[in-house]
């Protein structure tokens, strides 16, 4: 059996296209507090990605935890070159994350299709299209 591309259609929240290895989390992430902006490493005590770097990955998250300052930290990750290339979310992130992703040019797609969540694997290549609102396993 050959690998075939699978595309899930969702909702584009922040436009743009990016691709990278999936990093899949089961925890809600707070960009303020959970991430060291200089290295992109997850430092939050309660986060299941603790010790891993967000740099260049397609970050697959169930949710973000609210902080009004989240936008600045997402933008700072971009300034330091340690930002995820895209976000794939199960639910709509809060407005501050959307504003930070817009500034950092990190596309966001919200996918509610359960087949995505049951099959997405850490490390597999994902193409995220925030303009079309789709995620493709390539």
């Amino acid at each position: 059996m050959t690998e075939t591309k699978v595309t899930w259609q969702g909702r584009g929240v922040v436009k743009g296209q990016a691709g990278g290895p999936a990093m899949v989390s089961g925890s809600a992430l707070s960009f303020l507090g959970d991430v060291d902006i200089r290295t992109g490493n997850v430092v939050g005590q309660s986060n299941d990605l603790r010790g891993r770097s967000l740099a260049g990955v397609a970050l697959v998250l169930p949710a973000t935890r609210g902080s009004a300052g989240a936008w600045r930290f997402l933008y700072q990750l971009k300034v330091h070159g340690t930002h995820p290339c895209a976000l794939v979310m199960r639910e709509l992130p809060d407005a501050s994350v959307v504003q930070g992703a817009f500034l950092a040019e990190v596309p966001i797609v919200v996918i509610t299709d359960e087949t995505f969540w049951s099959s997405v694997k850490d490390g597999e290549a994902l193409d995220v299209d925030g303009t079309a609102g789709s995620v493709t396993r390539s």
Partner: protein, 423 residues
């Protein structure tokens, strides 16, 4: 999204390239949150441009250089250095100079350069039903809950609201999202701003992103206490609005809250005490820093601190800052209030505060600025908000007490904990 002719003209670039950029961003935000259209914004409290973050001042300078102009009244949020008085804070000149570039950029765009987390004490006082945008969560909660204006917890996009006078209609701009979610029954007596930050902090922790309607307060809090209450909630939770019957417009104070069948949350003396206790992990003697004025002190609070410090002297080895905004400091100077404060050895600092200045360890200033956070053993504060962020950003131990006892601590060099109301 339904866009007006004016909205479309902005997107067409009729009002310039920066207004086009701002409007395109606001449309994307609106589409993300299913906003039906744009509202007219009456005021925006916006990002200062922060010298403690790499390339952050550049975000503001870029707009100014491209000729951006604010379309509505705009005030600027707290910054990373006291731009007129940085020597007194021990900040490197390089940091103050960089911060001043953000000031120049804001002036070019027509912002009022207030550099404060309490712009209302500097005269920026939005009115009932006015749609506003605010980057500062304390301004958001005060505006929604005390003034009856309409604001979300915003980030950088408050600048875009300022540049266009527009904002997508979602969140707290809609009546349906301004209804209470929890009934908070206060069974504790709070007195003074420190207590109200602690009360708010205890409430925010329990209601998270909800909208609490409060009952049980023994009296109407004064303006400083109302400010403190909201700031506490916005710090521990994501509260953007509370409802205090008799204060919050247009809430009908005859409403039978029990009939709304909201989940009950009880707050008693132990909850308030617990917030103080949580932030009392520092050195009871040997603290070297006392901070008063979080959020930035009002004129009334400066009167209060001046009275407490009159004829006193800050203990050897202790530094005491009172933080406020430039406008209040000028009013206080004109009133003669700075004389007893300075005579006592305390400093009145504007534009910044301990957690916003070069003390913070979680920022990422340009290495060429040579910013080195000073070692601090313990900071003693009179605000739950400052305590929370000292822990997270300066990462040193705290002591938390009331304003009066904080001044007493600064003068005696020995921590004076809050007394419970019945002690």
């Amino acid at each position: 999204m339904r866009l007006s002719d004016y909205d479309k003209s902005l997107i067409n670039g009729d009002e310039g390239d920066t207004a086009r950029q701002a409007m395109e961003a606001l449309v994307q935000l609106g589409e993300a949150f299913d906003a039906p259209d744009m509202v007219e914004v009456g005021y925006a409290h916006v990002h200062a441009g922060m010298a403690m973050y790499l390339d952050d001042v550049g975000l503001i300078e870029d707009l100014a250089v491209r000729g951006a102009k604010m379309k509505v009244p705009v005030s600027t949020n707290i910054a990373n250095a006291d731009m007129g008085n940085w020597q007194e804070t021990g900040a490197p000149e390089s940091l103050a100079k960089l911060q001043s570039r953000a000031e120049a950029a804001h002036r070019a765009m027509g912002s009022a350069t207030s550099f404060t987390c309490t712009p209302y004490w500097a005269g920026h006082w939005p009115t009932f039903n006015m749609h506003i945008a605010s980057i500062e969560s304390g301004v958001t909660v005060f505006s929604n809950s005390v003034l009856g204006a309409r604001a979300n917890r915003d980030g950088f996009f408050a600048v875009y609201a300022g540049l266009t006078g527009r904002y997508p209609r979602f969140g707290l701009h809609l009546n349906e999202n301004r209804r209470p979610t929890h009934h908070v029954r206060v069974r504790a007596r709070a007195r003074g701003t420190a207590d109200f930050t602690a009360l708010g902090y205890a409430i925010g922790r329990k209601v998270q992103n909800g909208i609490p309607v409060l009952s049980g307060l023994s009296r109407r809090p004064d303006l400083d206490e109302l400010d403190a209450l909201g700031v506490g909630m916005a710090t521990s939770g994501g509260v953007a609005m509370f409802i205090l019957p008799g204060v919050t417009p247009p809430w009908d104070e005859d409403t039978d809250i029990a009939s709304l069948k909201l989940p009950d949350v009880d707050i008693d003396e132990d909850d308030i005490d617990g917030v103080y206790a949580e932030f009392c992990n520092g050195l009871e003697t040997g603290f070297e820093f006392v901070h008063l004025g979080c959020p930035h002190a009002s004129f009334e609070e400066l009167k209060y601190y001046a009275e407490l410090l009159k004829g006193r002297r800050i203990a050897d080895g202790v530094q005491c800052w009172i933080t406020t905004n430039r406008t209040v400091r000028q009013m206080a100077r004109d009133q003669g209030l700075l004389v007893p404060i300075i005579a006592a050895g305390a400093k009145v600092i504007s534009d910044t505060c301990p957690i916003s200045c070069h003390f913070a360890r979680t920022c990422s200033p340009d290495p060429s600025l040579g910013v080195e956070p000073p070692p601090i053993r313990t900071i003693l504060v009179d605000s739950a908000k400052q305590a929370h962020y000292v822990r997270d950003m300066i990462q040193c131990p705290t002591l938390f007490t009331t304003g009066e006892r904080a001044v007493e601590s600064a003068v005696t060099g020995r921590f004076q904990p809050r007394l419970r109301p019945n002690d």
